[in-house]
Amino acid sequence: MIENNLLKTNFTGKDGFRWWIGQVAPEDAQGQQIQEIGDAWGTRVKVRIFGYHPPDETELANDDLPWAQVLLSPQCGSGKANRGKSLRVSPGDTVMGFFLDGDDAQLPVVMGLFAKSGNPAFGGTEEYTYPFQPFTGYTSKIKASDYMIKGEGGGSDGKYSQRSGRNVSTTTAKKIEDGRKDGLPERSISTGSEKIINFGGSNQNTVEKLNGQIENAVKEVANATSKDKFRIIDNTARKVTGIAQSLSGSFVNKTFADLKPKLNKGLHDLYKKTYATVLLATQNPAIAKKAGTAAQTAMVGPVKSLQNFIPCAVKNISENLFGSVRNILTSLLDNVENFVSCIGDQFIGALFNDIIGNINKQLGGLMKGVSKIFKGDLVGMLRSSAEGMLGLSNAFNCELPSAVGALGGKTNNWVMGKGPKDIVGATAEAILSVANAAQELQEAAASPGGILGNLGIFDFMRPDVSTPGFSSQLSDCYTGPPLNCAGIKINIFGGAGEGASAMPILGSIVGDTFATQTASLIGIKLTNGGGSYITPPFVEIVDNCNQGYGAVARAVIDYDPNSPTYQQVVDVYVVTGGENYPVIEPADGSDAVYTVDHVVVVDSGQNYTNDDIITDEQGNEYAMFLDDDGRILNVIPPNPEITNVNEVKDLPELTITSSTGFGAVLKAQISARPEFQGEIKQVIDCITPRDGIVGYINGEAYYGSFHVMPNGVKMTGSKHSDTDVIIYDTPQDSRTSSARSSTSTSTTVQTNVSSTTTQTTTSSTSQVNTTNNTSQQTTGQSNTSVSDNTSSDSGSSGSGGGYSGY
């Protein structure tokens, strides 16, 4: 031992390796080094080393600690040739290293850091107290940012480490934070998240524009200070005034257009009346004619005054509008906690009342001048004009067709961070009805004027409008947090078609009790394909409680003009399932079990081979049909009737194991599991029509002629042809199958089910399939490939996606 010590040189690499663990000293001790200024050089930090340095500053001050060079990874670069990376060593870090001078222990080198646990339970975020106690890495120059979410830690702590904000609104982030059991904070990555954007267009969407503004303002105010609130009100009032200006202009134009024939008739009546009166008095037609003409001429001045007012009308009204809009908004934002469409109607109703009141005020004096030729009710006429404004632009469209026309496949609204949004248009009747009722309430209360002028008495003016149980003489438009979550709905809109509908399938249930359970969207059941779609419609996941987030779904339509489902929605698949959606009790009390029903080939990819394997998380293997270029035409899941597949509880995910293929995107669609029948299957005679129903095509009953293929499949037409379509036994099967038979001549080797068979053994079928890949396209992605395919299939169940072809 003594000899060994004597032989030591304390020279790097010649003696033993003396490693150590220590703690990086606090900021004060790092001097100018930490600032990277002055006499700072290299990459070094002061460290207090366990076992070498006392845990006491009085014995060894931080300032007297040795500098430790920090070794860099070769992947970081040294700085030479501009290859470099900054150090990320912070005060308080626990580091490991060795001494360059061996037992002399004066030249420490840091080799690496120990990761700090992100779990708050492990602490370590406190200010420095004394040596070897954990403390924060933040310094006087590096301060925590709310945006990055305060919390230090790294390594393998997953959700605890370096938490980032979410792409949700501040309000949603707060809701998530409140619901967390682990107490972790949540932040929004942008104040713009979930803001509603209206792309604009013609007057048709004035109501949408206004509703979007109000909804945004209500959301923004929810997290605003009183000072911010003024800014929000001011900005929104300006925008709303701008939008309302077009309404004012339309009002004025319509009013004068309506007045013209009425005044003209009044002039004719005036002439007739004057003529008759004078003729009676004078019995002289010439004098009577002159008197009549004079009476009409006397109206030129008053009518001209009216006409001269036209250019100023919109300007005058708009100038007055801003103040009232600000008042209306202030009142609304004071009381409304949650935007609902009925409050949007009321807001627009108030706006209408204000514009009408303004026009009446502006025109009132001038109308007195023409009272001899207009006896009507100007306000009544304005209100009927209002109906025209919202009823809506059809009146204008007849005169001047909108260039861009109906929205068709478009959307006018977008939620930032989320996607397209459908806004259910308010009806003119609803708005005018509430506007009139509010006006009547005010008149009944004999309180015209006041701070809100002649707007009427609306619910949003009431402080208790957001209190549960709110009800007023006007309506029951409660604007507090939603009390009854009605579950989520699938809203299919746009695409220039209509009629498609679908139902959500929820899974991944979280929570023990029904009342508190939340779920993710794991499937969508198409209930109606609708029609006339020229592009895939948008799919909106609607949660009336605004509780869930993250679910995204897309629709697939049939582009094949020869297909019976042409321009219909043939599938709606889930892209991401989201979370936190409210769970509602099934209407029939059933608790369905789901299995994969069929697979949507979103993208066919290419270069796949028949040796490739498609599986799901449960290990089930799927059959795949390819074209000559290795593109996936169809994927058939195991038949749950004859295969004991596992229940699907989460959004299923398919994996393709292939060494050559790439690019395919497959989405598994689930449906309620059919009864498992094992190896022996009872076959119902489904050849004989039931009540005249031969079977189903795309969910609809089929009554026409049909023929049975050698493999037992029914097809339309009395004889086989290229345009035949498969007839399925159940609406479900017919809906979930997406392919259509064309050129077929199927060579089938199969144990067929004859029409008279009541029970038989189901056997595998090998058949030559010629598949015409139905032209389908999803939003943002296109499906390609039309090719014949020869492959084998097992079973002919419609629930297998069907169309492996004939």
């Binding site: 980032s164 949700v168 998530i176 792309f199 925008k239 995204v552």
Partner: protein
Amino acid sequence: MAERPDEQQNWQLRQYDSFGPHFRIDSGNPQLGQNGAVVYDLLGSGKDGNTSTVGMTEAGLYHMYNDQCIEIMGGNKVDGGGVCVNIVGANGDVTITAMSSGDVKITGQNIILDADKNVEINAGGDFRVVANNTVNMTSTNMYLTAPYGKIRVREVSWMGGVFAGTKVSESVWSA
């Protein structure tokens, strides 16, 4: 409200590179936003609380959010005539919206609106067209509708002005 259970969140996929409280690259973060989980985000934050996020979601939405102004400039070294900023929507609409009371301004030597089908311009207030040279509108059908104003449709001739009030009749100078 409650998140999905931890076992349903793929934290294994997450990789981040955090440079400090001011900048981070976050990828594969399973926490859900409105458009699904994070594929990646570049998150930045200034000391005044201004933030910026660029990223992509699992459902494919690419986003660029910035609390203050966004500048996009291209072509500083492009000699005249080339394209220096090109915004393309492969499928679907391309929209520009100024929220609040902002204006949308397009400035250039020539401004060309080229619509395969229709052009629609809606103005809540006034619509003005001022050209210091020629206004040329050609159509098979044209409508002008207003309850009041001055709509003059007539042939305009500079020669008419020259010969105005002279004894030379219009039929002569316009022949």
